[in-house]
């Protein structure tokens, strides 16, 4: 074999491998998924059976609200409430696209009608009220509907005298509803005040990612604050901070571990342990 032949052969092998890779990529979304963290090609079914956690490295993938509800609540116990509340467009907002169109697209993409599901359900037999956010619906942003449904879930907890659980996943306030979104921070926080006054347990579970107006309102007001493993949590976004202070930030900035180090959360839980942790906490607060 001449040197030239060797190069030719190597090139052919590379092309063949690339084609093979392309085939795997084609089937992503069907059979295979790639772990963002360790880059392993994983069987989707295997990942799903592992609570959407990478079986190789333990990285926690983002999950939507319905998956979360299925993982957290006793089978068949969750009853969705206030699902009839849907988005209006009070400011007739339009940026590069109309808000109405963005909502229609988000609905089609997620099969949800807003970025939160509220309801009541059981966790190891304990009845709780809950609001579970969905990042896939417009980045989990909080507008009037999210604020209203979170508040209604808290008021349901007050009515039934049961604990309240909020699972957050949000980029922050929804800009398309401007000041009305800002006021949802006040509304939900005032509702937490009522939970406090009634002596009801309120636990928040902060999941990847929880930022902005949600962090600066009901997410960080839990009597107990749990961060899910691999979640990033903060008030201002990393890029905004870097632009402001003109220096780069540590790699682990705003991770669950970082928040733990700075005393902002009570604990970090893996997804596998989340349900039992919640059940144990509720039982410890039950007389």
């Amino acid at each position: 074999m001449t040197v030239k032949d060797w190069f030719e052969q190597r090139k052919e092998m590379q092309i063949a491998r690339r084609n093979q890779d392309a085939q795997i990529d084609d089937s992503i979304g069907k059979l295979w998924v790639k772990c963002y963290n360790c880059n392993a090609q994983l069987l989707r079914k295997e990942v799903e059976e592992n609570l959407d956690v990478c079986p190789k490295c333990g990285y926690h993938f983002r999950i939507n609200a319905r998956t979360r509800i299925n993982q957290l609540f006793d089978e068949g116990s969750f009853e969705e409430l206030f699902g009839n509340i849907t988005t209006a467009d009070p400011l007739e907002f339009s940026d590069t696209e109309a808000y109405k169109k963005r909502i229609t697209q988000a609905k089609a993409k997620t099969n949800m009608n807003e970025a939160v599901i509220s309801g009541v359900g059981k966790i190891d037999g304990y009845e709780v009220a809950a609001a579970v956010m969905d990042f896939e619906f417009m980045g989990g942003s909080m507008g009037s509907v999210v604020g209203e449904k979170v508040t209604l879930a808290m008021e349901e907890a007050l009515k039934r005298k049961i604990p309240m659980i909020a699972v957050t996943a949000s980029g922050g306030a929804r800009m398309q509803e401007s000041i009305l979104s800002l006021m949802q921070m006040a509304k939900t926080s005032c509702a937490v005040a009522r939970l406090n006054e009634a002596g009801l347990l309120y636990i928040t579970v902060l999941t990847e990612p929880t930022f902005g107006g949600v962090t600066a309102s009901f997410a960080t007001l839990g009597d107990i604050i749990i961060a899910e493993q691999d979640a990033r949590i903060g008030f201002a976004g990393r890029r905004v901070i870097e632009q402001t202070i003109r220096q780069s930030l540590p790699a682990d900035f705003q991770t669950a571990n970082y928040l733990m180090k700075y005393g902002q959360i009570d604990m970090i839980s893996s997804r596998a342990e989340l349900k039992s942790t919640l059940a144990k906490l509720i039982s410890l607060h039950t007389k």
């Binding site: 009070p90 000041i179 005032c190 937490v192 005040a193 006054e197 008030f235 901070i241 220096q247």
Partner: protein, 316 residues
Amino acid sequence: MAILEFEKPLYEIEEKIQELKKISESSGMDVSDQIETFEKQALEYKKELYSKLTPAQRLQIARHADRPTFLDYIKLMTTDFIELHGDREGTDDRAIIGGIAKIDGQSVVIIGTQKGKTTKENLIYNFGMPQPQGYRKALRLFYHANKFNLPIVTLIDTPGAYPGMKAEETAQGTAIAVNLREMAKLNVPIVAIITGEGCSGGALGLAVADRVLMLEHSYYTVISPEGCASILWRDASKADVAAEALKITSEDLLKLEIIDGIVKEPLGGAHNDYEAMGKELKNAIIKEIKELKGLEPKTLRDERYNKFRRMGVFCQ
């Protein structure tokens, strides 16, 4: 005084009038009739100009370098002000200043964000962008007011809570959230006024109040028009369009029932007449406190809750 771009024609007219006056004085010619006509026309033009400002132009008035600051209003509206420093946990954030003072004989706890007028001052006050410790200082003073049954007045003029590394490490989000929740529990009247910029959670952290007022040219929004433009339009130069779309003016927010009233500013903005502005705002505060003072603590809390509970627009 800094002249804004859209005000330039107005200043040209006024300069001409001054010139005319000088000429008339030096030459002894009586042109007082013409001067009077010009002055009338200038005033008409001024009224017309300021009544038709776009949100982006009003934003410039709200951010005017000479706009009265919290400490100016303290001088203009109160007597016997005693500043109370510090969060009792190691920091005295200068972007939020608070203390006790008298307004028209009524003792109040008064707290506000402070901006500077010069670079040096702005470095001290961090451009009016509070750290978490500022919100915690405010909270401590809220509790003080609650304990001694003093009404609370907050004056808000901030481009937002500070987005910094230490701010995140010491829980900026939590500090704001706790204020929102705790303000809901207070037994004393709370009056909040947006005096300039009312930007995002950083403003709201002092504004869960029984009455929320805005100065005529101030703005109140979930995100700065520049920030919104760079995220939604991916183009920061679209800030003027975003300012329009976000509905940030006092009239818009009154219409949306987010605020309870507008405090008129002197023609051209608060910076044109400190005395008049101070008097107008003082009267507005006195009126609101008088109305709220007679209410039982539970009524106050319930009405405050219901006020924010109603906010939001959706389909059902």
